[in-house]
Symmetry: C2
Subunit: 103 residues, 2 copies
DNA sequence: CCGTATCCCTAATGATACTG
DNA sequence: CAGTATCATTAGGGATACGG
């Protein structure tokens, strides 16, 4: 069940190595976003996976979730400092992808 | 079925964003290794997953597989140039992991 | 608007045994 | 030594409908 093994590399991969996590973090690099706006940045994601993924990221301390007590509901997501510390990695991953997209 | 979406980041994650791939690439950063040696570097991996993962990495052009026609069989794996171009990313992932392991 | 709850399907992983 | 085959299990993901 536990995916961690002896290598620190895997600790990182366990936090961001899924289909949607890097994408959400990446979009939040530009600043905090309302829930709906963030989800629209990733049209392919299902409602369920979106909620599940932001919950995971929040639990791992990479993003923060702020709820505004208004109607209609308003929720904003933003990167924590820990999340921001992944910026270089995320941009590197994106850069490598754009450079090797040709195959 | 296809995991790629509009973001180059995901192209990269589709190549290395699995449980074992980054680990295998990481160990090969130090130089080429015989199959058995490489596998022993990752004691938790099953035989099946090891073979499957190196096959995937080979198919994606990140590692090369060299078979020596001797008995007993001898196979060496090494990074391709494309694989080597991931070095910075792999080391960054490992570094981030070691710095955030505490939780 | 934002999120939860179900149900269902497929892909990913693992254990074990076997072959050139 | 290196790899394949098979069977079984689990995790990841998606569709849909509903609720504060």
């Amino acid at each position: 069940m536990n995916k961690v093994n002896s290598c620190p590399l895997n600790f990182t991969m366990n936090l961001i190595g899924t289909k949607w996590k890097p994408l959400i973090l990446f979009h939040l690099l530009e600043g905090s976003l309302r829930s709906g706006k963030l989800q629209k940045k990733i049209p392919e994601i299902s409602n369920k996976m979106f909620t599940q993924t932001v919950r995971d990221l929040e639990k791992d301390g990479l993003i923060s979730r702020k709820v505004f007590p208004v109607v209609p509901p308003k929720v904003k997501y933003s990167l924590t400092n820990k999340g921001k510390s992944l910026e270089d990695i995320l941009r590197s991953l994106d850069k490598w992808g754009s450079e090797n997209y040709l195959d």
